[in-house]
């Protein structure tokens, strides 16, 4: 490896066996062994398809990663982006040596650690101090290193009073604080942060991202950052890799990588939910619901700064004289209902036969984030003929912002564009 290269992936591939591992394992193993004896290659390494989750494959083996090549220089902050199932987490697992690649090699200089491992190996019966030592050692620190930092760690955790009390007496918050403090003082040469997996505890996620900002800006440290948040990738990373179906689809500046990701079509209609069966009611048959940006496809991420539309495909079987309309409730990621909306004036004119109901949401209305929709089919604005809570989940991502402006997520869920003016100046 060259001087300034700290991590190098060479033709890294990872194959997984789908379905139940266990049945037929021995027969496959024997088959492998037999081929090896005859001097042939592994018969199962040649089968396998790229890892496209949505299409049905022929083979039981898939390549979660295929021929991944990249280099990371010292001090670089590399963003790894891609849709769910593109292979990001598998790549991270291989990078952190939790699992090995099927073929290929990872070469590193120095220690790799991940902020996700907080609290790994904590034992309730041991005191906070003992756990700091154990956890630190699991993460690769020596006793000497931990001893030299123990005071700082305890101070950072804010658990001084309880440090000699068994951890089982701690509140869950205190445990997380202590665990995070250990990870924060780890000082690895390469730090891996997987924001995708850090869901659940918003406060911790914020802290982890903050820490990572400190680290990467403080200089010198190499960081690998996996995220769905395009804004933080753009603002934090110096370079970006886009993974698609287990392959590197793009490598370049983080700006370009984000642009590539947002415009990419990954052959999976993420944002379209088709109901093959179910929802076949006497009154109607629900066929699909989907959401996309106008003039873009269901397979592309929904960006906040373009017009969006909700498409509902429903077949009505009735000659009922009653008037029907569609009502949606929009929920945020916590499940709170933010507002409801419906077709007030029966513009959708729902009648017998196929109905494709389109609801347009103007651009710059929904803030980036995760949402869900509940669907109601209402008769005569009085009785609900059909109710399905959270029938559809979707994510809205940041669009292309100007370079240089604040690139984090704005607070709140609505991004209204009000009219502004300065009466003194505009007269």
């Amino acid at each position: 490896m060259k001087e300034d290269i700290i991590l190098k992936a060479e033709n890294v591939s990872k194959q997984y066996r789908l379905g139940l591992v266990g049945t037929g394992t021995i027969s496959h193993d024997l088959n492998r062994w037999w081929s090896k004896l005859l001097g042939k290659g592994d018969p199962y390494l040649r089968v396998g398809e790229s890892n496209d989750r949505s299409t049905k494959g022929k083979s039981n083996y898939v390549w979660a990663l295929q021929d991944i090549n990249f280099e990371v220089k010292k001090g670089e902050v590399l963003g790894i982006i891609g849709k769910n199932g593109a292979g990001k987490s598998t790549l991270l697992k291989i990078l952190s040596k939790v699992t090995g690649p099927t073929t290929g090699e990872i070469k590193t200089k120095g220690r790799i650690a991940s902020l996700l491992e907080v609290g790994t190996g904590f034992h309730g019966e041991m005191t906070g101090r003992e756990n700091v030592f154990l956890n630190g050692a699991i993460l690769g620190m020596t006793k000497k290193e931990i001893r030299s930092k123990i005071d700082e760690i305890i101070e950072f955790s804010g658990c001084e009073r309880y440090i000699d009390t068994p951890v089982k007496r701690y509140s869950s918050g205190m445990t997380v604080r202590l665990a995070f403090a250990v990870a924060a003082f780890l000082e690895p040469e390469i730090l891996v942060i997987d924001e995708v997996l850090a869901v659940g505890d918003a406060e911790f996620q914020k802290k982890a991202i903050g820490k990572m900002q400190d680290i990467s800006r403080g200089g010198g440290r190499t960081v690998l950052f996996v995220s769905h948040n395009m804004a933080s990738v753009k603002s934090l990373c110096t370079r970006g890799i886009v993974l698609e179906n287990g392959k590197v689809a793009f490598e370049g500046s983080s700006e370009e990588a984000v642009a590539k990701y947002l415009s990419s079509d990954m052959n999976s209609n993420e944002n379209l939910k088709v109901f093959k069966e179910g929802y076949d009611k006497p009154l109607f048959k629900l066929q699909s619901i989907g959401m996309k940006n106008t003039n873009r496809s269901f397979s592309q991420p929904i960006v906040e700064d373009a017009e969006m539309e909700i498409n509902l495909d429903v077949f009505f079987k009735t000659e009922d004289t009653g008037k029907y309309n569609i009502t949606y409730h929009l929920h945020n990621e916590l499940g709170d209902t933010m507002f409801s909306f419906f077709d007030r004036d029966y513009k959708t004119k729902i009648t017998k036969g196929d109905n494709k109901i389109n609801c347009i949401i103007p651009k710059d209305f929904l803030q980036s984030g995760s949402y869900s929709l509940s669907l109601f089919i209402v008769k005569d604005k009085r009785t609900a003929a059909f109710v399905e809570k959270n029938i559809f989940y979707f994510n809205v991502v940041n669009g292309s912002k100007e370079i240089g402006v604040y690139s984090g997520r704005e607070p709140g869920y609505i991004k209204p564009s009000f009219k502004w003016k300065n009466i003194k100046k505009d007269e």
């Binding site: 266990g22 394992t25 699992t99 090995g100 790994t120 034992h123 003992e130 154990l134 699991i138």
Partner: protein, 279 residues
């Protein structure tokens, strides 16, 4: 390529000792009788064995050697091996959570179990010593139970037991990641192996019976060449002066232990790279 990774294991030695410390600290938590459990198990087993094998089946343990002490010696030495084997044979399954999150040389985990089992062994050894003192000094039954000079080699013998248990444990734990059935075999297999390891009878008895044609030669050979037979016999020779002792036997036990350990380590290291996908 066979890569034993000793350098990396050495780098993580602090972790090994912290795991041992964890095991020691948390050993008796939440139990009522605490360390007493380690007295009870060998004690009762010895009593039962004495009752069945010596009183009912009339196995002779030698002139001046109380059968109870003979059995206790066998069980004490057997227990350390079997505890190490059982403790390490489910390493991958038991630790899949922590192994799935962070990398450290996986072998640290079973090694720490073998080291922390030394504490249990120490307690059981102490029980043995207490009974030894009782029989030799306070009764007239233990006249010929005399420790031998070879007792000085006991630490090495303990190392062999540990390596043997660890080696088999690593092989089994590597295989159970794919073939779960083996888990069921362990508890049962260990028990069967005990009967083939001269724990409750002297090896000499088997040799005699083979010579008389009362036991098939194959069974005799299995017991004879079972490395644990050698270890148990050596232990009894060192502490009680029964059974035969030869340097060859000692070397045999040593070679088998080290080879088993090395084979186990190679298989274990090979498994650790991808077990998380198959477990």
């Amino acid at each position: 390529m066979v890569d034993l990774n000793f350098k990396e294991i050495w780098r993580y030695r602090d972790l090994l000792f912290l795991f041992v410390k964890r095991d020691v600290i948390t050993l008796y938590k939440q139990t009522v009788l605490g360390p007493l459990w380690y007295f009870i198990q060998p004690l009762f087993t010895s009593i039962i064995f004495t009752l069945i094998f010596n009183n009912i089946a009339d196995i002779k343990t030698g002139e001046g050697i109380p059968p109870f002490l003979f059995n206790l010696a066998g069980i004490t030495s057997w227990n350390y091996f079997s505890e190490c084997l059982k403790g390490t044979s489910d390493t991958f399954k038991k630790n899949q959570n922590i192994f799935g999150k962070v990398y450290f040389p996986r072998v640290i985990m079973p090694m720490s179990i073998v080291v922390s089992n030394l504490l249990k062994f120490g307690i059981q050894l102490l029980v043995f010593v207490c009974f030894y003192i009782y029989f030799v000094f306070f009764t007239d039954k233990g006249g010929s139970a005399i420790p031998q000079l070879a007792l000085l080699a006991l630490p090495i013998l303990i190392l062999f037991m540990g390596l043997l248990g660890l080696g088999f444990g690593m092989i089994i734990s590597s295989m159970t990641t794919k073939y779960r059935d083996l888990t069921f075999l362990v508890g049962f297999g260990v028990q069967l192996l005990m009967y083939g390891s001269a724990v409750m009878y002297p090896l000499e008895l088997i040799r005699k019976k083979v010579a008389l044609g009362e036991i098939p030669e194959l069974a005799g050979n299995i017991i004879e060449y079972n490395p644990m037979t050698t270890v148990v016999e050596l232990f009894r020779h060192m502490t009680l002066g029964v059974g035969d002792f030869s340097t060859n036997q000692f070397i045999y036990a040593g070679i088998v232990s080290i080879v088993t350990f090395l084979i186990g380590l190679v298989i274990f290291n090979k498994t650790e790279k991808s077990f998380i996908d198959t477990i």
